[in-house]
């Protein structure tokens, strides 16, 4: 079926002659996993056209960011793709470091890679297990959520928070990996493959599952690129574009991993690509843990990195820098910088324009969800309602990132 040629126009003057049903899928619907609405025109069970309405949880992050100094913007990035907030945090810090010209030590970069890959695993686990739930298989979801909980415990050990992590600082991490955190990551690396194998055994060659997802919502590589797809959804269509490899950041060039690609870009390919990426992320974490370099966990950048609290009480310079950083008295260089990281859903970009003040003059987030969700009407036209649900959850649209 050639979706590209489908017309996504919704109501035509004679549409009442075709006896179409209008169905509001959302704004709150258990299967949309977030607040967004789709007004579908249905011919029986078949979808004739769909119009998405978004913006239900728009929080004006770009505007708020114009009045906050760099430290206060990380909590905003947390709340974009809240399934993998550490990636957003690190992406933001790397943007700021690029602007300020701070070099991050190797150990901090490796810790960041570990955290980011854990976040990617958590993100993909949610997407794939929820896809299972939407096709009627609840078991896999329960299996892997146990492991996702362990990832959250690792976050907790590293930064103290679980969902909205607000992790890291300009120039590195706020603290080193504790022995408990290292032990927890090692335990996770030991236990997780078993669970993941179990999960894959449940789904990958399951006839019922494959019947529900194969050839559902396919998109060609050309259309996907034209729609600005990135991340697993683009790779499922057969394009091996991955920011980690194309523009390596945070020492990704040190690691040996593969980029899985699909062929058809359908729901099954998206599911399989995410599964394989989980294995590759595990490989990266394993390598990073094995080769974790010694050394400082943050850059020597006293103007931007908060000094340790005990120094603030005893050391004059530390007190001055603490005061200046917290009050936002330190000016950033004038310039504009674009930095992108491979987020859970694709290329997460930060375009930061600085006019030299304490806050960004303009901060634009390239949110992968927002960009590829506009292909959703084209992908659902001609399918059935139950397929529309499956396509939506296989695209991994996160409402927080969609609306920013």
């Amino acid at each position: 079926m050639e979706l590209a040629k489908q017309n996504t126009q919704i109501v035509t003057p004679d549409s009442y002659m075709q006896e179409l049903t209008t169905l509001n899928l959302g704004p709150t619907h258990p299967a949309t996993h977030g607040i967004f609405q789709n007004i579908l025109q249905m011919d029986g069970e078949k979808i004739v056209s769909g119009v998405p309405t978004i913006g239900y949880i728009h929080r004006a992050f770009e505007k708020i960011a114009e009045r906050r100094n760099f430290y206060q913007i990380t909590p905003l990035t947390d709340r974009m793709n809240y399934c993998s907030s550490p990636i957003n945090n690190m992406g933001w810090w790397m943007t700021v470091e690029k602007l300020l010209g701070v070099t991050v030590p190797k150990r901090a970069e490796y810790i960041r890679v570990i955290v980011m890959e854990l976040a990617r695993i958590a993100d993909h686990l949610i997407c794939n297990s929820i896809l299972g739930v939407d096709t009627g298989a609840f078991t896999g979801f329960l299996y892997v959520f146990q492991e996702r909980e362990k990832i959250y415990e690792i976050y907790e050990e590293i930064c103290g928070a679980r969902l909205t992590t607000n992790m890291g600082r300009v120039g590195g991490m706020e603290r080193d990996l504790s022995p408990v955190a290292i032990q927890k990551i090692r335990d996770f690396l030991r236990d997780f493959p078993k669970v993941m194998t179990e999960f894959e055994t449940l789904f990958n060659r399951n006839r019922i599952f494959i019947d529900r997802v194969e050839n559902v919502g396919p998109i060609t590589a050309e259309r996907a690129l034209n729609y600005g797809f990135t991340g697993p959804n683009l790779r499922a269509a057969g394009v091996d574009y991955d920011v980690r490899v194309m523009n390596p950041y945070s020492s990704y060039q040190d690691f040996d991993f593969e980029i899985p690609v699909g062929t058809k870009g359908d729901t099954y390919d998206r599911f399989m690509v995410r599964n394989e990426e989980i294995w590759q992320s595990l490989r990266i974490i394993q390598q990073a843990m094995d080769n974790l370099p010694e050394g400082p966990f943050h850059a020597d950048a006293p103007e931007f990195y908060l000094p340790p609290k005990q120094d603030v009480y005893r050391n004059m310079e530390a007190l001055i820098y603490h005061f200046k950083i917290v009050m936002g008295e330190i000016d950033a260089p004038v310039g504009e910088v674009y930095h992108s990281v491979e987020g859970g859903n694709g290329e997460l970009g930060f375009y930061l324009v600085s006019d030299g003040g304490r806050t960004p003059y303009r901060l634009h987030f390239r949110r992968p969800c927002f960009i590829y969700y506009q292909a959703y009407p084209e992908m659902v036209v001609g399918t059935q309602l139950s397929d529309a649900i499956v396509i939506l959850s296989s695209m991994n649209v996160i409402a927080g990132e969609l609306d920013a």
Partner: protein, 168 residues
């Protein structure tokens, strides 16, 4: 095929669109050019069709507001990516607030559809020829364009909320 570097890109751009470009520089390793509103779509088209450059991926498109530069208050910034060469390019256009109309890029890039709607929503830049230019994230009844600088988040001169220590 030769490798496309930033120097080669700058040289090629100058050969192709020499008189249409001004203010060409390279902040943080990303070639940035400014052009005019009239030239932007032919330029995007030429970059898209060029057999060597192949700038066929629109990474992002966003608006910007400089209320102090008279006659050129509003701007649109395009980030292009040549996936074949892995080279990025930033193109900017600036125009007056009173005449905030820009030709649409949706004929080239499907993805520009929502990006342009978002830019319209927040900056009031109208994209001529856009198939469905309505607000996307804000409510349709809204009259203002909230990302413009004339809408500060918090009024600095408020007197009911004196906070000497934090300066806001």
């Amino acid at each position: 095929m030769a490798e496309l570097t930033n120097e080669l890109l700058v040289q090629t751009l100058q050969e192709k669109f020499g008189d249409q470009l001004f203010d060409m520089h390279e902040p943080y390793g990303l070639v940035t050019v400014t052009t005019t509103r009239e030239n932007i779509i032919p330029m995007l088209q030429a970059l898209y069709d060029d057999a060597f450059l192949q700038f066929q991926f629109l990474t992002t498109l966003c608006g910007i507001h400089y209320p102090d530069s008279k006659g050129q208050e509003l701007g649109v910034i395009y980030h292009l990516h040549s996936l074949v060469h892995n080279v990025r390019l930033r193109i900017k256009i600036f125009f007056s607030e009173d005449d905030a109309v820009v030709p649409t890029a949706t004929n080239l890039y499907q993805t520009a559809n929502w990006m342009e709607r978002e830019t319209f929503d927040f900056y009031g830049i109208r994209f001529e020829g856009h198939p469905n230019l309505i607000r996307i994230l804000n409510v349709e009844e809204m009259e203002a364009f909230p990302m413009r600088k004339e809408f500060p988040l918090e009024d600095q001169t408020r007197e009911d909320k004196i906070n000497t220590f934090f300066g806001r």
